[in-house]
Symmetry: C2
């Protein structure tokens, strides 16, 4: 029996490793387009910044380690098409340019996501995309080598874009971020994103929103200008940090259904709509447990969990048994750190609630990261949301100078378990002066929402 | 109608304020033994350390502010006895030495807790108790004035004792902590407490455990030596930081039942066993929702919540209505910061599980406060516990250099809501390299417990 895995990062290698360990009789073969396996995509900005020295440090487990476990790993090998009837995958050796068919009994698609190529003049020539580790490596080598680079334009003001921008400012570069959206971080509501925008400006990042990139100009291989619909910016280098889209080529050729979210449709057991074809990680869509919709969420946490679920169920499939594990879904938890501010979010944006037809109330307020009388108490901006009528917690957004990031996991637990603000305000949460006030900020939010929604008891 | 409140800190003033606001026709009278109202007891070590400049900064709301709201506040006034039939409380003006009876329609006992006086030679003369703000003020004044103090012995290695010890070392004093218990912080299991003990020693605090104080010796009003059953320590000052016991004198004289936990028995509405007598805060016992036992837990978070619940129900009582709000109970959440380490706990100790007859399994491991490849990743020691059979999360203890404290609130939510390790491991918790690994440490713990307990799915 043979498992073929397409994609050698978190989801794919987690599943492959599990099957390898549990079923030594199953042949496990992985094809990966890039030169690395199992690396931390979230670590790339820190590598570009220089706080992580080598790309190898971001690699959780190199190909040799997987090979030593007894699996076959083909790097720089791209899967291009599936023949689901014949159960074969056409693969291409990118170095040699040769093609061949790899057979499978079960096939796992863990093809991830990647920004779509932009059909703009100069972008292919001068734009540095940073999505994969080898792209990050290429960018860092460029900055390390090019002593004449002083002005950089980052295209895209999402997580990666602003993390990269911070890294570049920290390297002493004159950095401008351009995004066609009217706000940074579309994962936040506009009012909370405005706080992050201010933080970036205060740190020295130029932020140009509502501008669409139209062209990158250069001469003799050297980038010179970035042109948008509203201006022209001098640029010695351009970093393209646009949101990734699921890599669907292989899934589509297998005949797998793709959802309106843009991700491969899977059931909770990570099965696609095509027999013997499974999918996991950034390329699939998941159930948003708060909105009750399907979403494509690209995060290492989900990729690892889904990879493990797929691995467990693949072992069951090789045993001729039914699936044994299910992925419950997501609530949109995410955190990042920018310029010493921690930014965290979970659940629905105001626009999500409208889309999902959920009647949502929000409160927004400013609190302190420590007890008010402590030195350097620091600010925390809080926004919380709950459903009218029921009081169910629907979301939370935090921007603060400390004790913020991991606090979002409390709200994430509330969102995932359907906890109400009435109950949340009375939970036994921690308190000590270095970490906040006697009413935790999330409970301050819950209390405000109880009042706003006219619920009881109003503490 | 008249509400009499005994005790002017968190629980008492929260209830008094609520009644004052909601029922302007009710006369609200507060008697408080000390000179302050509504202050942060947890802030006292920071005031002693000098990082908080004045005692007033720890006062959330001074007596004048409550008086301006229209209530009567008698400071330095001690309640000594209750005549529940006549509905009067005997009070004594501590300055004048005079006594009088204060009548009530409803009486709230928020008398707090205080370390019991120790019947040892020299302790009354040389020991500085630090439980109330005026005691803290007295201690700080002593250290600020006494330039000849270089050696200090702290009696008691609980939260307050070690926070004070850290503060004293930071002030440049030679500091020794003595406790008769074989470990520091009895709120932790012994293995986790051993880690804290090492942190204290590394910071320069002398730690002497399993030693019982027998005498404090001095001459001409100057402290000289602390004598224990195992040694003699030079001491220019002695700080007594022993655990508080509920102040029961008034409750007992009213005829209120006292539980085996040592706290006043109350129902979820904060009613004692005596009609028209209510109690809240450090003096009452609460339901431990994990163990299913009653416990006396002295923390500002509970005092504030219980004070609010009492206030809501007192208003209902003045309206002739039934209680409208209930305090659900506690799960033993607590955090502190010692020498830049964050220490957090929730739920059952191993000994608690034995006492409650709960079949508990634990796992213990070491993780990283940030992604392993980040600079200064820092250590986090984790211990987690779950119930055999069901997998219900029973507790968690964390000692780490960062991103620890507020993370305990995630485990607290799990404990309070009865979440199992099987479900916990699949929650959508946050991840970014500055805050941890791709599997949150609490989920690493949950996964280990799933395996230990033979549950499914074993991710």
């Amino acid at each position: 029996m043979r498992l073929l895995v397409v994609g050698g990062d978190a989801a794919g290698m987690t599943a492959a490793s599990h099957v390898r360990r549990e079923r030594p009789d199953v042949e496990v073969v992985v094809v990966e387009r890039g030169p690395y396996t199992s690396y931390s995509m979230c670590g790339i900005p820190y590598y570009v910044a220089g706080s992580v020295a080598t790309p190898e440090e971001l690699v959780a487990k190199p190909p040799e380690a997987f090979r030593a476990m007894g699996m076959t790993v083909h790097l720089r090998t791209e899967a291009t098409a599936v023949d689901a009837a014949a159960r074969t995958v056409r693969v291409r050796n990118l170095a040699a340019g040769t093609q061949r068919d790899e057979p499978y009994d079960e096939l796992l698609l863990a093809t991830g996501a990647h920004p779509e190529p932009q059909p703009l003049t100069g972008i292919a020539e001068y734009g540095h995309v940073v999505h994969t580790l080898d792209e990050g490596e290429h960018l860092r080598r460029h900055f390390d080598a090019a002593t004449d680079v002083t002005k950089v334009v980052v295209v895209g003001a999402g997580y990666i874009g602003i993390e990269i921008a911070e890294a570049l400012v920290a390297r002493g570069l004159d950095t401008v971020v351009v995004d066609r959206s009217p706000q940074v971080m579309k994962s936040l509501d506009r009012d909370m994103a405005a706080i992050v925008e201010r933080i970036l400006r205060d740190f020295g990042v130029g932020v140009h929103l509502g501008e669409t990139l139209t062209e990158i100009r250069g001469t003799e291989g050297c980038c010179q200008q970035v042109v948008t619909d509203r201006g022209t910016y001098p640029a010695d280098a351009v970093v393209v940090a646009l949101g990734g889209r699921p890599n669907l080529m292989v899934a589509r050729s297998a005949g797998c259904a793709v959802g309106s979210s843009g991700g491969v449709v899977v059931d909770p057991h990570m099965r696609t709509t095509v027999p013997h074809v499974w999918a996991a990680g950034d390329c699939v869509e998941s159930t948003d447990l708060v909105a009750g919709l399907r979403r494509n969420v690209q995060l290492g946490t989900h990729a690892n969990k889904q990879g493990k679920i797929a691995g467990l169920n693949l072992v069951a499939a090789f045993d001729g048994a039914n699936p044994v594990a299910a992925f419950p879904g997501v609530v949109g938890t995410a955190v990042t750190k920018v310029c010493n501010w921690e930014i965290a979010r979970v659940g629905l944006l105001e626009s999500d609630a409208v889309e999902a037809g959920i009647d949502m109330a929000t409160v927004r307020f400013e609190g302190s990261a420590r007890a008010g009388y402590m030195p350097d108490a620091g600010k925390v901006f809080v926004k919380m949301a709950a459903e009218r009528g029921t009081g169910r917690v629907l979301g939370c957004q935090l921007v603060g100078t400390g004790n913020v990031a991991k606090r979002i996991d409390v709200a994430a637990t509330w969102c995932q378990l359907g906890v109400t603000v009435q109950d949340a305000q009375l939970l036994d949460l921690s308190y000590a002066p270095p970490f906040g006030g006697v009413w935790d900020l999330l409970q301050v939010g819950a209390r405000k929402l109880v009042r706003t929604l006219g619920l009881h008891p109003a503490l």
